[in-house]
């Protein structure tokens, strides 16, 4: 069966989404077990695929048995085989952790919720695994459409915030599609590897330049790269916890992956960094993104919204790292896709637990939480350490590579921005810790039975969260192996 892993990892969530949808009409209680089992099989296939790639190198899977470029092919190389397990494991852990929250919020609509959740995961995995530029767009549509549906269910302001996201996201996807169309006009192919082979004689073509610009802007819009980030904070903040803790870690990171894929495979680093002389300008944009993300986060008095601005700043890290144009920067960017997905998941799951228990995430609601929810807060501390970049959590190591990359590229502005944002993160999180730790639990209800006592979220929510927190440290400790055995081969040797 292992030769079918590439197909299984998208087909299993897709088929299970359909089965869950039917089960939702027949017996609601079946939905959750089916969804968990499907994501379990998916995660298994992703990990199996990573091991196979480590063993055999690049794997090509021909869908429908057609040889590319006639048909669609999946290329699983070191880059996407690293991202696939992250996406599937994040989705699985988040689903298990949010069972209670989902049942609490949508008692009548668990079926459609799990259906959309699984379809979203299908879309994200499909984007990562595909080797076909148009197939990527189709999966992007699925991930986006289901994402809008999931995010729009939440607080009163969620539908409007999501409508805004829908407009921006649609423009982003259209830009990407238009860029692919331009590439098709000048090369006649949609297969990424094939396009890369046909492009070199066309490097001076204006159409290829325009295709690259349009694709990049579209992808930047989708990943909320400053100044195209305006849709993100509200859309993620007002959504329900299960959706925001799936979408916040994964969507922006998967779009960063798409950007890196376009740079490394489709347009090749030679074209992007040598023929075009814009990398410096993009890194400066990333510097602004990081600084603005950090400053805007500082202005928030609300935990979830503060975290969404941190997501905006983190996107700046990855875009900047990738556009430094050297090996260390690119290593840092790819490593940060993995690390940031995990640490964003960790902090958003913490918010999910707090919302489940306290019904709020404004700073005033957080008072006394260390006493009330010690395990959840322990996870928040580890997640925060990782975002700040304290060893041995994984956030430190990707930041380290990014800073090394900035120094070897001679881009000290980017280095300063990284350090600035780390310092701001320290301020941000210690302010939260202070509120959670020192101020007494505001007790408005007189003799409430849980004043002073422990009132932790259910075990089913805390255990996955603690697993994520442990993963943050484990990934940090194994950074060397990830870089030496996987990422090193993901970057073309031409890049120094």
């Amino acid at each position: 069966m292992s030769e079918q892993y590439p197909a299984l990892l998208v087909v299993v969530p897709l088929l299970s989404a359909l089965v869950v949808s039917v089960a939702g009409w027949v017996n609601k209680r079946l939905c959750f077990p089916i969804a968990v089992a499907a994501l379990g099989v998916t995660a298994w296939s992703c990990v199996g695929l990573l091991l196979r790639v480590l063993d055999e190198g690049v794997i090509v899977y021909k869908l429908g048995g057609w040889t590319p470029p006639m048909g669609i092919a999946y290329y699983i190389d070191y880059l996407n085989s690293l991202v696939l397990p992250v996406v599937s494991i994040v989705a699985l852990l988040n689903l298990i952790a949010n069972k209670k929250g989902i049942e609490q919020q949508f008692p009548d609509k668990t079926g459609p919720f799990y259906t959309l959740y699984l379809l979203m995961v299908t879309g994200l995995l499909g984007i990562v695994v595909t080797g076909d530029a148009f197939n990527l767009y189709v999966l992007l549509e699925i991930a986006a459409l289901t994402g809008y549906g999931l995010l729009a269910m939440g607080e009163e302001r969620a539908p409007l915030a999501t409508l805004n996201y829908l407009y921006m996201g649609t423009i982003g996807a259209c830009f990407y599609l238009l860029g692919v169309g331009y590439l098709y006009i000048v090369t006649g192919s949609l297969n990424m590897v094939d396009i890369a082979g046909l492009l070199p004689p066309l490097y001076q073509s204006k159409a290829v330049l325009a295709a690259f610009i349009i694709c990049m802007v579209g992808v930047w819009l989708k990943m909320a790269f400053f100044p195209l980030h305006a849709w993100l904070p509200n859309a993620y903040t007002y959504a329900n916890s299960a959706a925001s803790s799936l979408i916040a870690p994964l969507v922006t990171k998967v779009m960063v992956y798409v950007m890196i894929r376009l740079i490394l495979t489709v347009f090749t680093p030679e074209f992007v960094f040598t023929t075009l002389a814009v990398s410096d300008a993009v890194v400066w944009l990333a510097v602004i993104a990081i600084v603005m993300g950090a400053v805007l986060a500082l202005a928030e008095r609300n935990l979830k919204k503060m975290l969404t601005y941190i997501v905006v700043a983190e996107v700046g890290y990855m875009v900047g790292g990738a556009w430094l144009g050297n090996r260390d920067g690119m290593t840092g960017a790819i490593l940060h896709i993995v690390n940031d997905a995990l640490m964003t998941l960790c902090v958003f799951m913490v918010v999910g637990n707090i919302v489940y228990k306290v019904k709020g995430y404004a700073f005033e609601d957080l008072q006394g939480l260390f006493r009330k929810m010690p395990f959840t807060m322990a996870a928040l501390v580890i997640g925060a350490m990782s975002i700040i970049g304290v060893p041995p959590t994984c956030g430190f190591f990707s930041k380290w590579y990014l800073i090394v990359g900035a120094i070897s590229a001679g881009h000290y502005g980017f280095m300063a921005a990284l350090i600035f944002s780390s310092i701001v993160s320290v301020v941000l999180f210690f302010r939260v810790f202070e509120i959670c730790y020192y101020e007494p639990f505001a007790d408005h209800h007189g003799h409430d039975n849980h004043s002073g006592g422990m009132d932790e979220a259910p075990v089913s929510m805390v255990v996955p969260l603690l697993i994520v927190a442990v993963i943050l440290i484990v990934v940090g400790l194994y950074t060397g192996d990830i870089v030496n055995h996987v990422i090193q081969f993901a970057i073309p040797e031409a890049m120094v």
Binding site: L18, S21, V22, K62, L63, G65, G71, P112, I142, G188
Partner: protein, 277 residues
């Protein structure tokens, strides 16, 4: 703000025009798009898939994987509409005043303070916004609908030879049911085709498509490689491809049909499933 918008639009437009300068000439037979893959499809489609319509073969076989996900996109749209709009009976506050119509005489009755008539063949529940039925429209639509549906089935079945296929046929089928719902009312339409049936059909359509692909996988070939079905269908692998396309087109048709109706039902009644438009 308006000025910034104008500048961005003009810049983008200028970029697109600038790039168009390097495009191959209009309908240039030597352009990369016409010389790279198209000759293969034009020359080989018949012998590789035994489908005379090249567009259908590319859509449902060479790039069938994309089409499967396009169907999944449509399915997601239906689920999203249901998820966001449907108001469950528990949350929906019933109106104080209810209206019923006596079917035979057309007399309308108003009941106050939450009284209701048990469901029967004599009375049907209507809403306050209700407009009296128009005999001409109702009869006209009843006459039209069977022919619309017949044509839809033709479009689905004939996708191999002429323009058409699952998407187009499914839309026509869905439109026929929506026409019924508009000319009568949503309650009547939902009685004929319940919400549960539509929800299940919607998933079943995509399931036929993805399931066919998975079946190929179980028969030891790659996903969606229809030639694996040769043994099951008792034909040669090339004809199996042609039959495989027909199977998935039927799946697409069912999914599109059900999704169209599902979206219409939810949007037209704002998720309440009462009178509709």
């Amino acid at each position: 703000m308006k000025i910034i918008g104008l500048i961005i639009t003009v810049t983008t437009g200028a970029l697109l025009f600038y790039a168009a300068g390097d495009f191959p000439a209009w309908s240039d037979p030597a352009s990369p798009a016409s010389t790279y893959l198209s000759p293969h499809f034009i020359e080989k489609t018949m012998e590789e898939t035994s489908v005379p319509n090249i567009v259908t073969a590319v859509l449902a076989d060479y790039r069938g994987f994309d089409t499967m996900f396009e169907t999944a996109v449509i399915f997601s749209a239906g689920v999203v509409c249901f998820f966001l709009l449907r108001i469950s009976r528990r949350e929906d506050e019933e109106p104080e005043t209810r209206y019923y119509r006596h079917v035979l005489t057309g007399v309308t009755i108003q009941l106050k303070e939450g009284h209701e008539i048990p469901p029967s063949a004599d009375f049907e529940r209507i809403d306050s916004m209700w407009t009296p039925p128009d005999l001409i429209i109702k009869t006209g639509c009843r006459l039209l609908i069977p022919f619309v549906q017949l044509f839809a089935l033709y479009v689905i079945a004939h996708g191999h030879h002429s323009p058409g296929g699952g998407f187009q046929g499914g839309v026509i089928l869905g439109a026929s049911v929506i026409l019924f719902a508009i000319s009568h009312d949503l309650r009547t339409a939902v009685r004929r085709m319940s919400e549960k049936l539509i929800g299940i059909l919607c998933a079943a359509g995509v399931l036929i498509y993805a399931g066919t692909g998975a079946l190929c996988l179980l028969l030891k070939l790659n996903f969606l490689d229809y030639s694996a079905l040769a043994g099951v269908l008792h034909v040669d692998p090339i004809t199996a491809r042609s039959h495989g396309i027909l199977i998935v087109e039927i799946g697409v048709g069912i999914a599109v049909l059900a999704t169209m109706i599902w979206i219409y039902n939810n949007i037209s009644s704002a998720g309440r499933y009462r009178q509709g438009l």
